[in-house]
């Protein structure tokens, strides 16, 4: 217990000391993960809409497949990307390995299944009349999609948060294709893994708390934005 308390204190100290090395790592983490989410969101939305609204043969299998991809271990994504981006791999010429760009690609791959599966379940639960009504009232295809998203906004936010949580917290692919290089591709989680490897548990835990504090700030901001959206249906 005592050690845990010390660690918490150390974490706060770390955060408040504005240690530039720490903020550099935080910057890399958030830049990579936020970019990945932003890039992954539009295609995930489209696929989710397709799966939720368009009847095509093999749809059920496609949904199962998306759900399955949620179980892809991060190391496996890391491995596959590594093999593709490696000098001896088919995309070696791009020289992407051990760059932030490669990490973003990895996290996009990790975020896609979570986003798609959650968005599918959300969009599917929206009343079919919503789409019909929008189309009838003159909305184009994209406008109707936008209305659906607005109607499903709580679910969409939950999906984005889940995906963001997954990729900001992941270490397997970040370390494999980022390489945990100081000042370049070291993120909070790869730094934690390193500290743990060294047996510096307190330091690792402190970094973890820093990550949590920042995630909390982000979530509270979102919570305020989203406002109080509970139903008051009395009819």
């Amino acid at each position: 217990m005592h050690e845990l308390m010390n660690t918490a204190r150390e974490a706060l100290h770390l955060l408040l000391s504005f240690d530039p090395a720490l903020w550099e790592i935080i910057g890399v983490s958030f830049r990579v993960s936020l970019t990945a989410i932003l890039v992954a969101l539009p295609p995930a939305l489209l696929i989710a809409l397709l799966l939720a609204r368009v009847a095509f043969p093999g749809r059920w299998f496609a949904i199962s497949l998306v759900n399955t991809f949620m179980a892809v271990p991060t190391v496996v994504v890391g491995l596959v990307l590594f093999m593709l981006l490696s000098r001896s791999g088919p995309l070696g010429e791009l020289r992407l390995l051990f760059t932030q760009r490669a990490m973003i690609i990895g996290q996009i791959l990790l975020a896609m299944p979570v986003l798609t599966a959650m968005l599918h379940s959300t969009l599917q639960s929206i009343d079919q009349r919503a789409w019909e009504t929008a189309r009838q009232l003159g909305a184009g295809w994209w406008q109707s999609l936008w209305v659906l998203i607005r109607e499903a906004r709580f679910g969409v936010i939950a999906a984005v948060l889940a995906a963001f949580g997954r990729i900001i917290a992941e270490v397997g692919s970040a370390v494999m294709i980022g390489g945990n290089i100081e000042h370049f591709t070291r993120t909070i989680t790869t730094a934690i893994a390193l500290e743990t490897l060294k047996g510096e548990f307190a330091q690792g835990l402190a970094l973890g708390l820093v990550l949590l504090l920042l995630a909390l700030v982000l979530n509270v901001l979102l919570g305020v934005m989203r406002g109080r959206g509970h139903q008051t249906v009395s009819i």
Partner: protein, 258 residues
């Protein structure tokens, strides 16, 4: 069976040495060994906290501190191998051929060559830091990259980025087929790499399986264990040299030509 927990570095585990040794130990002893492969730092930490019964590591300075602080008892040298400096076949920094590791490091810094450092406080990392000190450079030159990962990953990274790195010979042998690298410097006495087995201090925690740990440690330094270590081959190459009770001559470090 009676369970003994051994924390060891990934290098010994990944080379296959323990998979080769331990079944032979378990055959004539009433113990079952659970191996927990981690970094040296974490292995010693597990020992300090009493979560394992003994450790097998290769970081002399840290091990000395571990024993001095009474976390561990009965340290024994078990075996050794050595470090080598590896780099891309073209050798852009022109360090090849020498046996002088310190010199090679100084050249790397001067040339600003790409160098991948473990940067994880492991035994290898400590050795590397020591060499930078000897060479009288602060490692912040242009091509220096602190990866903060295990040996295998760092080797992979060096191969991908066509840079230099310092590695233990075991990992090197295990991985060299998959790498686009060659040995640049080897045989320097400064590149010596000894392994020790240390029991966790039974006075600090109840319920440790010290008896089993002792049996294992004693077996490792017994003639039988030592012969087996010497006989171990990875891809046809000898990897570890048994050294229990010897005052080792560092210059006899294994060479790849063995």
């Amino acid at each position: 069976a009676d369970i003994v927990r051994l924390a060891t570095t990934t290098s010994t585990y990944n080379s296959g040495l323990l998979d080769y040794l331990l079944p032979k130990f378990e055959e004539d002893h009433p113990y079952q060994i659970q191996v927990i492969p981690v970094g040296t730092g974490k292995a010693l930490r597990l020992g300090r906290d009493g979560d394992v019964d003994l450790v097998l590591t290769h970081a002399p300075a840290a091990e000395k501190a571990f024993v001095d602080a009474d976390y561990g008892v009965e340290p024994h040298g078990v075996m050794y191998n050595d470090f080598v400096i590896v780099g891309p076949s073209g050798d852009p920094a022109a360090i090849d051929g020498g046996e002088d590791a310190t010199n090679a490091f100084a050249t790397l810094a001067d040339e600003g060559a790409t160098f991948i450092s473990r940067g994880d406080d492991s035994g290898t990392d400590k050795k590397e830091k020591h060499l930078w000190e000897e060479a009288d450079v602060t490692p912040d030159f242009k091509g220096f990259r602190a990866a903060g990962q295990g040996m295998g990953e760092v080797l992979k990274m060096a191969s991908e980025l066509q840079g230099y790195t310092l590695t233990d010979r075991g990992t090197w042998l295990a991985m060299k087929d998959k790498l686009d690298l060659e040995i640049m410097v080897e045989g320097d006495t400064a590149l010596f790499n000894p392994y020790q087995v240390i029991l966790v201090n039974p006075q600090r925690y109840d319920g440790l399986n010290t008896q089993g740990a002792q049996a294992l440690a004693e077996w490792l330094i017994s003639d039988e264990g030592q012969d087996l270590i010497d006989a171990f081959r990875l891809k046809g190459k000898a990897l570890f040299h048994a050294s229990a009770g010897e005052k080792i001559d560092p210059t006899s470090a294994v060479h790849e030509s063995d």
